[in-house]
């Protein structure tokens, strides 16, 4: 096992414009926000984004002009409503949006895991979602039934925020897992941002809690509160106030201001945390 710890800007430099970037977490849970900020700060362009359920992560990257294409099964802010920039950009055809379902994303990713060339299934036949995805259909060599060939999805890099890991990238993801293990296993490279880096010895008392092992991880970045304003159980819950504020200003067309003030005018995510320190404090759970 190798020490894989680097600084966030070093990790971000490994990402090339045009690459397919998979984002972990789900909607407003455990999104790698510090890394999203860094992608914007470093001016990445033409990224293809893949995420099961996106929210402010996707919305910010769209507003910053970092994305060409999104593959997702959902982009919205859950109980809070629509993702304003996502909606505008898709309706205005500024970006390409491939609407997936959970299945079409998972099947494409899982194909890598079992060295399948594709996943042959009957799911989604007859839906307009499948029509839009434009996947091939064919006859089963076994039953002659009509099947969809769900092609492999193989992101260049996955970005996943975790609660804790060691310097080798043995990670303990807690709370809602979404498809983060699947993303890590099927992406060519994996960058993990983590609330805390702990000694490996700490992982050996409960090895069953290490759900993402170092064998799938390439890069580790320490980033406390790195998911704010999304949640990171058990450390802090999602900051619905901050998210509402973001949506309000975005609806008024002021996302540019938000990005300038919270990201590009600052040197680092620490600067952001300092700027919104009252927000962070409000959603932080005392010792958990």
């Amino acid at each position: 096992m190798q020490n894989k710890v680097v600084k966030i800007n070093e990790a971000c430099q490994t990402i090339q414009n045009g690459e397919t970037v998979a984002i972990g977490g789900l909607t407003i849970h455990r999104k790698p926000m510090s890394f999203i900020h860094e992608l914007i700060r470093s001016g990445k362009k033409e990224l293809h984004l893949l995420t099961l359920g996106g929210s402010i992560d996707v919305d910010l990257l769209i507003a910053a002009g970092s994305i060409d294409r999104i593959d997702a099964a959902y982009v919205g802010l859950e109980i809070l409503g629509f993702a304003p920039n996502f909606r505008k950009a898709v309706e205005g055809r500024v970006i390409e949006f491939n609407e997936h379902t959970e299945y079409s994303i998972m099947a494409g990713l899982e194909a890598n895991l079992i060295e399948a060339e594709f996943i042959p299934s009957k799911l989604l036949i007859g839906t307009d979602i499948l029509k839009s995805l434009n996947y091939k259909t064919f006859r089963s060599p076994i039953t002659d039934d009509l099947l969809v060939a769900y092609p492999r999805i193989c992101p260049d890099v996955a970005i996943i925020h975790v609660q804790r890991c060691d310097e080798y990238g043995n990670c303990q993801i807690n709370g809602i897992n979404a498809i983060d293990l699947l993303l890590a296993k099927s992406s060519r490279r994996v960058i993990v941002t983590t609330e805390k880096i702990l000694p490996t010895e700490d992982f050996m008392s409960v090895p069953s809690s290490t759900n993402l092992p170092s064998t799938f991880v390439d890069t580790v970045v320490e980033s406390p509160f790195g998911a704010h304003p999304t949640s990171c159980f058990p450390h802090y819950t999602y900051d619905l106030w901050h998210l509402l504020h973001y949506m309000e200003s975005s609806k008024k067309g002021k996302t540019e201001n938000y990005i300038k003030q919270h990201i590009t005018d600052l040197d680092s995510f620490e600067g952001y945390l300092n700027l919104v320190k009252d927000d962070v404090k409000r959603v932080t759970v005392r010792e958990s």
């Binding site: 919205g76 809070l80 996502f86 379902t101 839906t127 307009d128 979602i129 809602i176 498809i179 619905l240």
Partner: protein, 279 residues
């Protein structure tokens, strides 16, 4: 119209709860407070052996007394009662294996007379309104022997003749595999199902205080009605008490009915209450 002792969300939740059979596996999707309330209600009344999978199904929870739902600490509350932490792929593995036992309530943006649903795009080809997306609805709607939709707002723009974009498959085609599926719709006005023979939406029961005309006025197509309309049994005292006092005293369920500024204010109100109580 006589005074109702219960609200629309309460009778809807009661109807949803009653669809759950003892021993079912109930899956909570994204942002569906009424669904999770109905699961807790069922578990506290007629279906104590219900298995509940929360937070997009990722977290398998265990509880004896019905817990109180939260807006701000949704994940924290689920984790406090978690017996197992799964993954999204595992949720599908459970679904594929246990199709007969799964209960999952979806909220469609549009539903049509055949039971097709849409959470993707609204409008004509030229100017489409982009919705957040159906997440997993289209995957499983056609697989479940029993598919459930709930519509807190029974409006013409929700109950449309043909959905603009097909996500969840109704019984539009004649294929036998679809025929065997039961599709149930619970709205603020009544309970409906897709009739197997005609493959059209039919009224099963109308909520107390609602008239057939209310349904007609708020639906873009003709809903089949039986000769003698059955009335939905109202919530019992116990059901109302559980919903109001035990499961959702913060009235999070009302958010499913609100929009715009009213909704935002209600939301902030709940958040402030929760914050003062919990952290």
């Amino acid at each position: 119209m006589k005074l109702r002792k219960f609200t629309s969300d309460e009778i809807m939740i009661t109807c949803m709860s009653r669809e759950i059979r003892n021993g079912d596996i109930a899956i909570q999707g994204l942002t569906t407070p009424m669904a999770i309330i109905s699961y807790y209600l069922a578990k506290a009344t007629h279906a104590p052996q219900t298995t509940i999978m929360q937070l997009a199904g990722n977290i398998l929870t265990y509880t004896k007394a019905p817990p109180q739902i939260s807006l701000l600490f949704n994940e924290f509350e689920a984790m406090r009662r978690s017996v197992h932490i799964g993954t999204q792929t595992e949720v599908y593995e459970v679904i594929f294996k246990r199709l007969e036992s799964i209960v999952e309530f979806f909220r469609p943006a549009q539903i049509d007379m055949f039971g097709n649903t849409n959470n993707s795009l609204i409008g004509s080809d030229i100017s489409k309104l982009r919705l957040p997306g159906g997440f997993g609805i289209a995957d499983v709607a056609a697989l479940y022997p029993r598919t459930f939709y709930y519509c807190p707002r029974h409006e013409k723009r929700v109950f449309v003749e043909n959905v603009d974009h097909i996500g969840g498959l109704g019984l539009r085609t004649k294929s036998e595999s679809h025929q065997r599926r039961d599709i149930h719709i619970i709205s603020e006005l009544g309970v409906f199902e897709i009739e197997h023979e005609s493959r059209r939406m039919r009224l099963s029961s109308i909520h107390p205080g609602i008239k057939i005309e209310d349904i007609k006025e708020n639906t873009s197509f003709e809903i089949l009605t039986p000769e003698k309309t059955q009335q939905t049994s109202p919530p019992t005292e116990l059901e109302l008490q559980l919903i109001r006092e035990k499961i959702d005293p913060l009235n999070i369920r009302r958010l499913e009915y609100l929009s715009g500024k009213t909704r935002e204010n209600a939301l902030l109100n709940i958040l402030d209450k929760e914050l003062s109580l919990t952290i």
